[in-house]
């Protein structure tokens, strides 16, 4: 098994598999296609997507190809608890955003992006910071997904890496281009059903083919003490903690999530996000178990590449039909995320850039659609080029992660506290980014008083994360209490210690600095307190034909003139 190569499909088989997948998906979108799409539906459907489609779309979007590979790698590296430390925190990213999501939706029921809400609250500079972070995140995601397609095609067939990248890019663009978000959510459902059905079959199939529970238990002897420990500190500090820190940042910084928040029927936000949390966790942790199985069997990843672990196990223990199923599983997961990224990018360019900043109250819905479709074409081309040349995006990834961490507090606080100002939002994010870079790239020596200063800021960051999480579910008093206790615990345990973990220190510093600057500047400001009721008046639908029927049952529809006048 260790020296075995992966099963190889012929070029024709892989082309037929991809044709069947993308052809079938394209045919599915024909059923919902309208000759004349409207701009609002292109971005968020009708704001009334049901629980089933909403939960399916949320789950499918959050699962990308890297989820399987990374979960299996975590299982292989950290042992028994490894898959949990990848999948659980990823799942909680969906769960922890929904209390805030309900607030976003209440403030701006007809919004298309979170940026529109921030624009109505603060103005262009804060909105564009958020939009920029969303754009960078989605472009990176597109590139990673196309790269996964290229890698999969090249390891399982004679086709080249670039051929896989191009087929996936063009395939996703074709079925998303005309109907945008509507096509994305519709196909997400079909892709998720395929993905889940395959996962349900593949995980037990590999497990029993390798010998079942008894073989797994026998193989535990191959594990180190840390790997065999379910409460391994190694796994917590290296895998769990950095992911935990990112829980809120990923959710706030990702337009694919906000888009679904604004698209799902308001009454169904809670069950939708709860179901997606369980669905994501179950699939990803389950596939991560294949990494644990490989570890117990003493299998070495082919060519030292951890991404080969799952294909290797499937190839080694199951007949070729399962490898074809695995192929569809990965193509389905990466396509569902890539189409959501295209929809997210188009919505940002349509609403945040064109609608709010270029058209300034005179947005033409047909021109918006053109902007959205052109964005999809350009984004696909950029994703394909970046993926084909295997560009090193590590620095970009680091910056996006920091930016997402820095905006968490200003975005959430802006929706609850009427004293946050635009200057406080913008300045706090910029200062946090500078402080992040100083710590992350060690531009300042992290020892003595400097190290202590950063640990203090990071401790505030830790308190903010825990405080916000508690606040979301349990209210303000519990939020302050939990945040205060977390801050105290961090001050006691992290000072003199956290400077050794620069990645974690820098991330927490971004949270802490932005919170500190934002709060101090807002308290010092003499600006009039903000009236949250004005947000709903300022954010509305763009398309006249869509504006009135979109109102929720029981609510009076806003006059079209009012919703259009609100585009300022």
């Amino acid at each position: 098994m260790n020296s075995a190569s992966l099963h190889q499909f012929s070029t024709l088989t892989v082309i037929l598999l991809m044709l069947a997948f993308y052809g079938g998906t394209y045919l599915l979108t024909l059923g919902i296609r309208k000759k004349k799409e409207d701009a609002d539906a292109f971005m968020v459907s009708n704001h009334r997507i049901g629980f089933g489609i909403g939960a399916a779309s949320m789950t499918a979007t959050w699962i990308w190809a890297a989820s399987f590979y990374a979960a299996a790698t975590s299982g292989y590296t950290y042992g028994v608890s490894g898959p949990i430390h990848y999948g659980l925190w990823g799942a909680l990213m969906i769960l922890f955003i929904y209390p805030f999501g309900r607030r976003f939706r209440k403030l701006a029921p007809n919004a298309h992006t979170l940026g529109e809400l921030i624009h109505a609250r603060h103005g262009s500079s804060s909105q564009l910071i958020l939009a920029l972070s969303n754009v960078l995140g989605s472009v990176i995601s597109l590139m990673v997904n196309f790269t996964a397609a290229g890698a999969l095609v090249s390891v399982l067939s004679p086709l080249s890496f670039q051929a896989g990248v191009i087929i996936a890019g063009v395939g996703v663009l074709l079925y998303t281009l005309w109907s945008g978000f509507r096509a994305s959510v519709m196909t997400d459902f079909a892709q998720l059903v395929a993905l889940m059905a395959i996962a349900v079959v593949i995980i037990p199939a590999v497990f029993f083919a390798m010998g079942g529970p008894s073989e797994l238990v026998a193989g535990l002897d191959n594990l180190t003490v840390e790997q065999a420990d379910f409460f391994s500190m190694d796994a917590i500090l290296h895998q769990g903690a950095p992911f935990f820190v990112a829980v809120l940042a990923y959710a706030i910084g990702n337009q694919t999530i906000s888009q679904r928040l604004f698209a799902v029927n308001e009454e169904h936000i809670k069950p939708t996000f709860l179901t997606a949390t369980v669905g994501y966790g179950a699939i990803v942790i389950g596939l991560g178990m294949i990494g644990l199985m490989a570890l117990t069997l003493g299998i070495e990843p082919l060519n030292g590449d951890m991404n080969n672990l799952i294909p290797q196990m499937v190839s080694g223990y199951l007949p070729p039909v399962f490898i074809a199923l695995f192929f569809i599983l990965v193509i389905g997961s990466l396509s569902s995320t890539a189409d959501s990224d295209l929809s997210a990018l188009s919505a940002i360019m349509m609403a945040d850039v064109y609608g709010k900043n270029l058209a300034r109250g005179k947005a033409n819905p047909q021109r918006m659609l053109l902007v959205g479709r052109l964005t999809m074409i350009v984004a696909t081309a950029v994703g394909i080029v970046f993926a084909s040349f295997s560009l090193d995006i590590l620095v970009m990834l680091v910056f996006v992660g920091a930016l997402w961490g820095a905006i968490v507090f200003p975005v959430i606080a802006s929706c609850f506290w009427d004293r946050i100002t635009n200057a406080a939002f913008t300045t706090s994010v910029l200062v946090a980014m500078v402080m992040f870079c100083l710590a992350r790239f060690e531009w300042l020596p992290l020892d003595g008083a400097t190290g202590l200063l950063f640990e203090l800021l990071a401790s505030i960051g830790g308190g903010v994360i825990i405080g916000l999480m508690a606040f979301g579910f349990l209210g303000r008093a519990m939020g302050f209490l939990a945040g205060g206790l977390a801050l105290l615990a961090m001050l006691v345990f992290a000072t003199g210690f956290l400077r050794e973990y620069t990645v974690l220190l820098a991330s927490l510093t971004a949270y802490g600095t932005s919170t500190l600057v934002c709060v101090v500047m807002s308290l010092a400001s003499r600006q009039e307190r903000f009236d949250f009721a004005t947000i709903g008046e300022r954010v509305g639908d763009y398309d006249q034909a869509h504006a009135e029927p979109a109102a929720a049952p029981g609510q009076a529809a806003a006059p079209t003139s009012a919703t259009l006048a609100g585009q300022r």
């Binding site: 497990f207 529970p213 797994l216 179950a282």
Partner: protein, 42 residues
């Protein structure tokens, strides 16, 4: 230990199956409701 580890591995595909059934049933309900109200599913 054998039972425990068997459960630990197999509980995830079982949960996945549960969520799959839940989502499929919900989509069928959504579809029926959309038809009844003469509107589109998405």
């Amino acid at each position: 230990m054998t039972l425990l580890y068997g459960f630990y591995v197999l509980v995830w595909p079982a949960l996945t199956l549960g969520v799959l059934v839940l989502i499929c049933r919900a989509v069928l309900r959504d579809r029926r409701a959309a038809k009844r109200e003469h509107r589109e599913l998405v």
